[in-house]
Subunit: 287 residues, 6 copies
């Protein structure tokens, strides 16, 4: 379908109410999954983020990078142990995690944003002591898999106020300077709460929370915090959805305006969420 | 034609390079003619201007208002004399001009911008001694038809820096406090020069400069300053186009980046000019 | 009487305690009545306001313009209906009100201030959505006679901080962009409250509140809010004084330091009020 | 003569053009002589300076204090030697000079300004290394009588910008921390040049430069720099006038707008100079 | 003992935790006693204060000057009366106090700081109306011996923020401009409270509070406010220690972090207090 | 050797002139070699850098990381080719370089600075498009070994002004987002020039430039730019010294105040260079 210039202009104007609504707002985007692997999707996410910045929003990107980590671990013949879907990180693995997340994935996103006309600063939780962390106790086992103790929002705010887009690798540090590998969803939620963000968007590889996991038409568009417990009990929230929903609940109860689980496999899913009335995916609300 | 959300998102992303290109740029828009009379066009111009502000440009509106002035003059049985297309303004007429431009047209534009989500400040050249003027000598006759002596850009810059859109009525004042009615095109050009604007856009009721006035396909897309004299001699530039082209020449030789004469009868013509590669109308360049 | 330079210097020095007392203070002046009609008085008011600005005060002018409105209405053969001294404003009248107040009276004051060396910005309540208004219900009749819903003080403060004197026409706007004609005293009071002003001065055509309307020596210099009800009952406060006193009460109970009803027919009445111990007119105090 | 309030208001308004003219201007006042000894004159000088500050000027006071120094020297039985009207300052004398100028005279002026409602900061040339000095060679004799090497204007500007009136004792310091007694006229001229002041006013005990020293009606109102040499040769400029005129010449050739020698014995002589058309005393101009 | 460069570097690095701890902190130093008389000690105090400023602290100096005052009083044959260790100051004495403290001692300290590379501003309580004072009633006798009514911290903060070290002479002023001689310890305590300082250090001529005044090994390192009363009763706190401890108590109960009485006869005692773990002297704590 | 507190205080005071001299100065430190491998030396460098920041300097760290890169390349069985001491970087190697420099070494330095009480931000040349690079042509071969095209100093200045220490990995990016591995000495020199730094310090594994490479007593303390050519010809400057000296020459001729090649194997060599008169290593001067 070919659109002429006028039709395009009208579509820009249609976006005006949304642009106005989100002007000056802080939106934390957890970037990962398919949207990070597929080149075309990757490019579209970069466009979405740069566009958000140019129309006056303040996007903050928190990224994962599991597949790239696994790839290097494999090449180095290092084997990982997982408990409850969280990597039990030994010293050697932690080094790989930091190199891949901080040196490769983080900087690729920074370069991707630059290629679309934005200007980003890549940060790990060590920079400016941004993410204070401690070891996570997983079934009595501690390793360099960590959890967030606190987020120092000042550095992120400085980056934003100077016109840059912060891109954050989910690596924390304790008072002794020890690094920890933290789940990116958890970091995104903690950053959103610390920044008092207006929106948290988790890019996932599912359409959202489905009432029937096998039926993609059974999307639950709005999930109330008060309903979560029941949905966990009856198995609607299960598997990888459990920690994601937990992040959303933590955010909205921590003061973040709205939290969304959206389908990163859909092109421009971030813009769709922001610029359309119906939105997409599942929105978790504090009710 | 129905577009789905994704197509709309893609169109937003298509606009990104233009948004980036004009980010922080000052664009003076001379608003008048059909685009001021037709309700639907009027609304679209307001949308265009608000959109420009939200995506980071700094639009400055200079407006005319001839028909509304004529209307009130008629109701009051005041007759005007015109010389070379410029009104010879007597005292009684000047009073009407100020009331219509400053009290009615200017504030309607301010309200129109507010209705689309922008915030504007209406100014006449008296406010903050913005436009210093003197009587224009028309064939030896002087009246309260004036010309610009100087523009004080500080007030306009203050308005812009505080997030408002300046809307300027083309009324000047001399040192004795006497008001003058000035052609809005001339004011727009002088404002653009004083602000060192990046772009001046004149909304007109023609498609641009036509090689053959009867053939709308004969549009001259780019007009070099060096060609103007010849086109005047051979009659291509004639009638109402003479002063308009003169304004454009004054602007681009005064340091304004680019100057455009566009067709205000086309919906969203301002956005079309800015957001499409081909542009529309006639661009005057300093060559 | 001829004064030599030394005597003049001493008088300047006498003013010093008052200058000190009002340094940095915000003074809202409702300008109207005789002081607006008489050329000589008009010039003196302009001088007073510019002097206030130069010696460190922040004057804010709110003006009326009834006679000029009536004049144009008459010329256009439009008849107005009044209820309780408030104009019932139909659509045609509203247009005239806006043109006269916003285009003529407002800009004349701006020019007058400029002619005395000050720098003013004329604003209507539409500019920057300064005055949010709604229709006033007068005995069950609504028209475009409005009342203040809220004042946005940010624009006024921006104007003040940038060294300009704000001059405000009493026109409000609702969310749909509809204009309303509002009594200037009411706007002055609302502006004074919104700005947390130190003083509100209403220029009137009477010496102040008189105990006996026929005896100009019976001036009530200080009126306590607690006395108002009784004075209304016994008819001391009557006619046009009722709404004026109501404005004063609204101001002082809303946090404005002091409110004065003074005689605009007296030359330099504003300076007299500020720079003399005895003051002039009636001061309403929150007791 | 009794003036009513209105007459006073009119005189304030008469001052408006002068207030406007000097708004934001820097005026260095050398304070000394009779105006420092006579209690009534002293009080009037304080009033003049505070008034200047309140109406928007930036007065900077440089003071002398010879008589007070002599008084303490006498009480301590210390004898001074003078060469060419400049004190040859030994170590013991220097200590007295510093105590009297810095501890007594300077702080009395600060207190005097406070008593009239101003806020002043007393500084010696040691504070913030304000006045860098070296020994003055007087006929081959050096002592702690010094001359200005350089003035650091930053501290004075900080004091001004924070709303205070700087009051400067004419004491300099060399790189070793040694104090020097410097002629206050010279310090005032050097400060005026360093601050790029708009005006330098020297308070003296004469009406100005007289063509005939015995005839007070022979005042030279305007003295051109080009005339100075001739007037020295023919003895019109003689005695104590020689260094004062030299200071004035240094100032105006150093960029100070205007320099005045006025009669400090006349009440409010500073205001008279500033607020009257004719001015008083002798103005030295750079022609 | 000769240290090589490396050992010196290591000592600098050892200081790092203390530098970090006091970065940006305000430390009021009461300077007097032996440390003011002995040339070598004097120089070391100047070094300590300048070093504090360069490593990021904000030292504020309050000084005494009794011996210098006595010296000039003697030379002028003026006799003073003392009550409870406080000078009963008559008019003549007050003049001497101001000249010595404000003109001599204060400026010597300013010059001393400059000689070590710092930049100081000497202030008396008159400057900027810094110290508001009133007569102290000593056994029914009032004189120009005063006590602090209030401290205006704004001027001190302005001086600090502009990079200067404030040096304050303990002279106060009442609303009539009358000067008062105030005990420097009291001024230091009041300044520390008004500035919400982190530390107050009183330089004295004793090692601190001794349990047995004759045994310098009986130092009480930490004195709780709750213990003071008992120590006064049993005579441990006696004589000149009574007012000093009272100052400390006033400070710490007024919000100052820590208060120290240290031995000014020890070289670099201020640095020792700040840069060593054990500290020196007696610390008064709010317990 | 045990030093008592007083001796330590005296050493701090000895440092004062150096602290003063370098206050507010920008010092670029190229960190690499032995000082990066040895744990004890590493810790001392971190201390030196944090101390510099706390005493008012602005250290900027540019780091290498060759051995760590080689280590990972070896583990991944990737072989590198070197030409003229510069790695010829293929795509696979470039990925390793970015992971090691950006993810591991850079963040370890950030953590090391944090452990000593400083606050650092790790940056690669991709962040904020800090280092614009292009492929280096090495004997006709191009690879992802790059050279600096330009440095954008704004981001570094933002980081400094917000109180952080910038730590820069020597990775550049071209307009297509392609990464380049650049020699850290070259990046340090380019950063020093772009920042108009006061000092560039290259940490090396030699004592400086030796006249006789085998005689460590033959140190050339000061090397003039004018002598460089001759020293290259006679072989005094040879091998790894050639590019290092070239960097120094580029810096000092580019406006950097002073450039030093010092021995990173000596503990606290940076502090020794800055805080001792004799300095250490070889200083290159622009003569």
């Amino acid at each position: 379908m070919v659109l002429d210039a006028l039709q395009k202009a009208e579509i820009l104007v249609e976006a005006l109410p949304y642009i106005k609504q989100f002007y000056g707002k802080r939106v934390v985007v957890k970037y990962g999954g398919a949207a990070m692997k597929d080149c075309d999707l990757k490019e579209k996410v970069m466009q979405d983020i740069v566009l958000m910045k140019y129309v006056g929003m303040h996007p903050i990107v928190v990224h994962g990078g599991g597949p790239e980590i696994n790839n290097l671990l494999a090449r180095l013949n290092i084997e990982s142990q997982f408990v409850n879907g969280l990597r039990v990180t030994d010293k050697e693995t932690m080094e790989v995690v930091e190199m891949v997340l901080g040196g490769k994935v983080n900087k690729e996103i920074v370069a991707g944003i630059a290629s679309k006309g934005g200007s980003a600063i890549g940060l790990s939780g060590k920079d400016g002591s941004l993410i204070k962390a401690k070891a996570l106790n997983i079934n009595g086992v501690t390793s360099f898999t960590g959890e967030v103790v606190s987020i120092n929002p000042r550095l992120i705010e400085t980056v934003i106020e100077n016109g840059y887009i912060p891109v954050i690798a989910p690596i924390g540090m304790d008072d002794e300077g020890q690094s920890y590998n933290i789940n990116a969803d958890l970091v995104a939620a903690a950053v959103a709460v610390a920044l008092n963000a207006d929106k948290l968007v988790l890019l996932t590889d599912v359409p959202g929370l489905l009432l029937d996991a096998k039926d993609s038409d059974s999307l639950i568009s709005i999930l109330k915090v008060s309903e979560v417990e029941e949905f966990i009990e009856n198995g609607v929230i299960a598997g990888g959805m459990v920690p994601k929903i937990a992040c959303c609940v933590e955010s909205v109860t921590g003061g973040v305006g709205r939290t969304h689980i959206i389908d990163g496999r859909v092109a421009h899913s971030i813009l769709l969420e922001i610029f359309t009335n119906q939105g997409i995916g599942t929105m978790v609300v504090n009710e």
